[in-house]
C-alpha cells in the first residue's frame, strides 16, 4: 500500500523509470520461477499422456476374454455384449483400414525415408524408334500420401484405443446391472448429448484434410530439396535436414544462398516496418477522422461516413488495381504533376518512394474500417468525463490525450495486435498495388516492396521453389506466433472464458 502511494506520487518520467527498474529487478526471479514451474506443469501433462496406456493395461489385465479379444478384433466386446451393429461397424472399419494400408498405404510409407530411389527413364524402342517413359518413383506423391498415411495411422490408433475402452466399460457396466444402451438410443443421442459429433464432423474433416495435412506436408517440405531442378516426376527430391534453414542465414557455401539470406533479412525488416506503419497510421488517423465526424455541431454525419464506407463496399482488388494505374507513368497522378510543371514521379523506380506510396495508399484502404469500429466505441465514452474536464479548463488536445486515447486504447488494444498480425500477412495491398516493384536484381526473385508473404507467393507460383517457400512460411508462423502469444497472455477474455459468459 505504502509503495503504491509512493508510486502514485511520482511524476510521469519517474514512474516510467520505476517501472523499468522494477521489470529488470524482477527478471531473474521470473526466470527462476519459470524453471521452478516446469515440473508442476509437465507432470500433469505426462500423466495425461500416459493415461491411454494405463487404460489399455487395465483392460488387458482385468478384462475378461471378450474384452481381450477386442484387442485383435475391434468391436468384438460390443458384439458379445449385444451392441451388435456398433461392434460390426468397428470391425468393418478395421478391415477397411488394414486393406487400405496393405494395398495402398504401405507402398508409399515404406519409401517415406528416402522419398523414392527409382528415377523415371526414357527408353527408345530399338525396333520402332519410338521412345517411351518407364515410370519411376514420384517423390511428391510419396511425401503427400506418406503424410496422409501417418495421419490416418494416428487416427486409426485412436479409434482402436477408444473401441477397447468402450468394450472394457461395457464389460464393467454389464457386470453391475446387466443393462446396456442399445444402438438406437446411441444414435438418437447424436441429436442431443452427442450433438457436437454430428455438427463438427464435416468442419473438422475439412480442417484436417485441407489445412492440417497440407501444413504438415509443407513443414516436411522445408526439410527437402524440392525445387524446379528436382521436380517430379522427371526427377526425385530427397531429405536434406536443416540445409534450407542454414541457407536462410547465408550458410551452405552456395552463392545462391548469400542472395537468399540477403533477400530474407531485407524482406523481414520491411515486413515488420510495414506492419508497424500500416497498423498505427490506420489506427490514429482513423480515430481522428471518427472523432471529427462525431464532433458536436458537425452536420450530415451520415454523408461523411458513407463517403468513407464506399471504400469497404467496393471489392478491394478493384480499388487497388485502379489506384496502381492512377499512379502509373501515364496515369492521372502524373498528369496533375505535369500540370504543375513537375514530375513524372514513378513509384516503380525508387524503392523508398514505393514504400511510402504503399503505406499512404494503405491509409486510404484501412482508415474506413477503423472509423466504423471506432464510432460505436466513441459514443460509449461517458459524456460527463468531458464535461468535468471542460470545467477544469482542459484544452481539447488534453481531453484527447487523457480521456479519449486511454479509453480507446483499452477497448481496441487487442484488435490493434490482431490487425498488426493481419498486416504482416497483407497480401492484397502489396501484390495488387506494386506487385513487389521496383524489381531488384540483387534479390532472390523478389522486389523491394515484397513482403514475406508476397515473396512466398512468387517463389511458389512462378519459381516453384517449394523448399524455400516452406521455410519462409515457417518463419512467418514463428513471427506471428510470437506477437499473438503476447496478445493472448494479456487478454482476459481468452483466459477467463467461462467467467465472461
Amino acid at each position: 500500500m505504502n509503495s503504491e502511494l509512493a508510486y502514485l506520487g511520482l511524476s510521469r518520467p519517474r514512474r516510467f523509470l520505476f517501472k523499468t527498474k522494477h521489470f529488470f529487478s524482477t527478471l531473474p526471479r521470473k526466470f527462476a520461477n519459470f524453471f521452478k514451474n516446469i515440473p508442476a506443469k509437465t507432470i500433469p501433462f505426462l500423466k495425461k499422456l500416459a493415461k491411454p496406456f494405463v487404460t489399455l493395461y487395465d483392460a488387458f489385465v482385468y478384462g475378461d476374454w471378450k474384452t481381450r479379444l477386442s484387442f485383435l478384433f475391434m468391436g468384438f466386446g460390443m458384439i458379445a455384449h449385444k451392441q451388435v451393429l456398433k461392434g460390426l461397424l468397428y470391425l468393418l472399419f478395421e478391415i477397411i483400414f488394414i486393406l487400405f494400408f496393405a494395398f495402398w498405404g504401405w507402398k508409399y510409407i515404406s519409401k517415406f525415408g528416402t522419398l523414392g530411389t527409382v528415377v523415371q527413364q526414357e527408353v527408345m524402342d530399338p525396333q520402332t524408334g519410338i521412345s517411351h517413359v518407364i515410370e519411376g518413383d514420384n517423390s511428391t506423391l510419396i511425401l503427400l500420401y506418406g503424410t496422409i498415411c501417418i495421419i490416418a495411422l494416428i487416427g486409426a490408433a485412436y479409434t482402436w484405443y477408444s473401441s477397447i475402452k468402450q468394450c472394457y466399460n461395457l464389460q464393467q457396466v454389464y457386470n453391475v446391472d446387466g443393462k446396456i444402451r442399445n444402438f438406437k438410443e446411441d444414435f438418437k443421442s447424436l441429436a442431443d448429448r452427442q450433438y457436437y459429433k454430428t455438427l463438427m464432423s464435416i468442419p473438422v474433416f475439412g480442417l484436417v484434410a485441407f489445412t492440417i495435412i497440407p501444413l504438415i506436408f509443407m513443414i516436411f517440405v522445408a526439410f527437402t530439396n524440392w525445387e524446379k531442378a528436382t521436380m517430379p516426376p522427371a526427377n526425385l527430391f530427397t531429405w536434406v535436414g536443416f540445409a534450407n534453414f542454414d541457407a536462410l542465414l547465408g550458410g551452405g557455401g552456395l552463392a545462391e544462398n548469400a542472395t537468399f539470406a540477403y533477400t530474407f533479412s531485407d524482406a523481414l525488416v520491411w515486413t515488420l516496418v510495414w506492419a508497424v506503419f500500416a497498423t498505427f497510421t490506420n489506427y490514429f488517423i482513423g480515430m481522428l477522422v471518427a472523432i471529427l465526424i462525431n464532433k458536436k455541431g458537425v452536420r450530415c454525419k451520415k454523408l461523411w461516413r458513407t463517403a468513407l464506407v464506399t471504400t469497404i463496399a467496393v471489392p478491394q482488388f478493384v480499388s487497388l488495381m485502379l489506384i496502381s494505374q492512377m499512379y502509373s507513368k501515364e496515369g492521372i497522378f502524373n498528369g496533375i504533376l505535369a500540370f504543375f510543371g513537375t514530375g513524372p514521379l514513378e513509384y516503380t523506380k525508387n524503392a523508398l518512394w514505393a514504400k511510402i506510396f504503399v503505406i499512404l495508399i494503405n491509409i486510404w484502404v484501412g482508415v474506413p474500417y477503423t472509423v466504423l469500429s471506432c464510432t460505436g466505441i466513441l459514443m460509449n465514452i461517458p459524456g460527463d468525463l468531458y464535461e468535468s474536464a471542460k470545467i477544469d479548463g482542459a484544452s481539447p488536445f488534453r481531453m484527447y490525450t487523457n480521456i479519449t486515447l486511454p479509453y480507446m486504447m483499452f477497448v481496441m488494444g487487442p484488435s490493434l495486435i490482431s490487425s498488426f498480425v493481419g498486416n504482416i500477412n497483407n497480401f492484397n495491398v502489396i501484390f495488387l498495388l506494386t506487385g513487389g516493384a521496383p524489381v531488384n536484381i540483387n534479390k532472390f526473385f523478389a522486389g523491394d516492396t515484397d513482403l514475406l508473404v508476397t515473396w512466398l507467393y512468387n517463389l511458389t507460383v512462378s519459381e516453384q521453389n517449394y523448399k524455400y517457400a516452406a521455410v519462409i512460411g515457417i518463419i512467418v508462423f514463428v513471427i506471428v506466433a510470437f506477437f499473438s502469444l503476447i496478445f493472448y497472455s494479456r487478454s482476459k477474455a481468452v483466459k477467463n472464458e467461462e467467467d465472461f459468459q
Binding site: I212, P214, T310, Q316, F317, M321, N334, S373
Partner: protein, 299 residues
C-alpha cells in the same frame, strides 16, 4: 445597473464562444469535405474512365473527350478468351455455393464451441488458433497437389471445396456472439424436453439474425476479391477464371501490354462487378458494423 453589467458580460462571453465554435465547425466541415473527396475520387474516376470512348489505354486526364457505352457492351461476351460474362458467372457460382456451405458450417462449429462442453473442445480451438498463424498460402502447394490427384486444378469446384474446408477457422466472431446469448434459455428449453438439435435451429439461430447476415455478407463477398488462392488453383485457362483474375489479366497480361487495350474495359468491368456488391453492402451495413464491432469490443 449591476445586473445589467453582468448580463452584458455573459452575453459577450457567449458571443466569443459562439464565434469560436462556428470557426471550429467550419474547419471541421472543410477537413471532412477534403477527406471525402480523397476517398471518393477514385470511384468517380473509375466511372468516368469506363465511359471514355476515344482510346482504351491509361490517360492523364479525367474527363473523357468522347462518351460511350461500348466498354460495357464489350463485357457481354460469353465465349472466347476475354469472356467477361463467363468470369462473372463463375464468380457468382463460387460465391453462392461457398457462401451457403461456409455459413452453415461456421455456424455449426461456433454453436458447438460456444454451447457444448466435450472432450477435445479446447484442443480444436487451440489447433485452429495455431493453424491460423501460418500464412494461408503456405498450405496451397499441398492442396494444389491433392486437387491435382483428383484432376480438379483449374476447376471451380476445387476452389469451392478449399473455401468451404476453411469454414471451421472462421468461428471466432460468431462464437463471441453466441456467448452473449443467455444460457438459461437453453436450460429452460432442455427442461421442456428440447434436444440440442432443436435448441440450435429453433432458439439460437433465430436470435442470431444479425450475426448470420454478417456471415453471409462476408462469405459472399470474399470470393469476389480473392486473387491469391484463385490465381493459383484456377490455372491458366481463361474459361475457368473469376472476375478478379480476368480483370487483373486486362491490366497486367501480355507482359503488361494488355493495359493499353483494356484499361477502359477494366473500368467498365469493375463498375459492373462492384455495383451489386456495393448495393448489398449498403443494404446490410448495419449488420456489418455490428459484426465488426462485436468482434472488437471484447478485449
Amino acid at each position: 445597473m449591476l445586473f445589467r453589467k453582468n448580463y452584458h458580460l455573459t452575453n459577450r462571453v457567449s458571443n466569443t464562444q459562439k464565434i469560436k465554435r462556428t470557426v471550429g465547425n467550419s474547419i471541421a466541415h472543410i477537413v471532412l469535405t477534403i477527406i471525402s473527396i480523397i476517398w471518393v475520387f477514385p470511384f468517380i474516376y473509375l466511372i468516368l474512365q469506363s465511359l471514355r470512348g476515344e482510346s482504351n489505354g491509361v490517360v492523364s486526364y479525367i474527363i473523357p473527350q468522347e462518351w460511350t457505352f461500348n466498354n460495357y457492351i464489350y463485357l457481354f461476351a460469353f465465349e472466347g478468351p476475354n469472356a467477361f460474362m463467363k468470369w462473372y458467372l463463375n464468380t457468382l457460382l463460387i460465391a453462392v455455393v461457398s457462401c451457403v456451405f461456409q455459413t452453415i458450417f461456421t455456424l455449426m462449429t461456433a454453436y458447438c464451441l460456444s454451447r457444448m462442453r466435450f472432450k477435445g473442445r479446447q484442443g480444436i480451438m487451440k489447433i485452429i488458433l495455431i493453424v491460423g498463424m501460418f500464412p494461408s498460402f503456405l498450405s496451397m502447394v499441398a492442396i494444389y497437389q491433392i486437387l491435382n490427384v483428383f484432376g480438379m486444378v483449374g476447376n471451380p469446384v476445387g476452389l469451392i471445396l478449399v473455401y468451404i474446408a476453411g469454414s471451421a477457422s472462421g468461428y471466432y466472431v460468431i462464437k463471441g456472439f453466441f456467448d452473449t446469448i443467455s444460457r438459461s434459455l437453453d436450460e429452460a428449453a432442455m427442461i421442456d424436453g428440447a434436444t440440442r438439435n432443436t435448441i440450435f435451429w429453433k432458439i439460437i439461430l433465430p436470435l442470431s439474425k444479425p450475426i448470420v447476415i454478417y456471415t453471409i455478407l462476408i462469405t459472399f463477398t470474399s470470393p469476389w476479391g480473392d486473387y491469391m488462392l484463385s490465381s493459383y488453383l484456377l490455372g491458366t485457362n481463361s474459361e475457368n477464371w473469376t472476375v478478379a483474375l480476368g480483370l487483373r489479366y486486362w491490366l497486367t497480361g501480355n507482359n503488361g501490354q494488355a493495359v493499353q487495350a483494356y484499361f477502359t474495359r477494366f473500368c467498365a468491368g469493375s463498375v459492373f462487378t462492384s455495383i451489386p456488391i456495393v448495393v448489398l453492402f449498403f443494404f446490410l451495413q448495419r449488420y456489418y458494423v455490428e459484426g465488426v464491432t462485436g468482434g472488437a469490443v471484447k478485449g
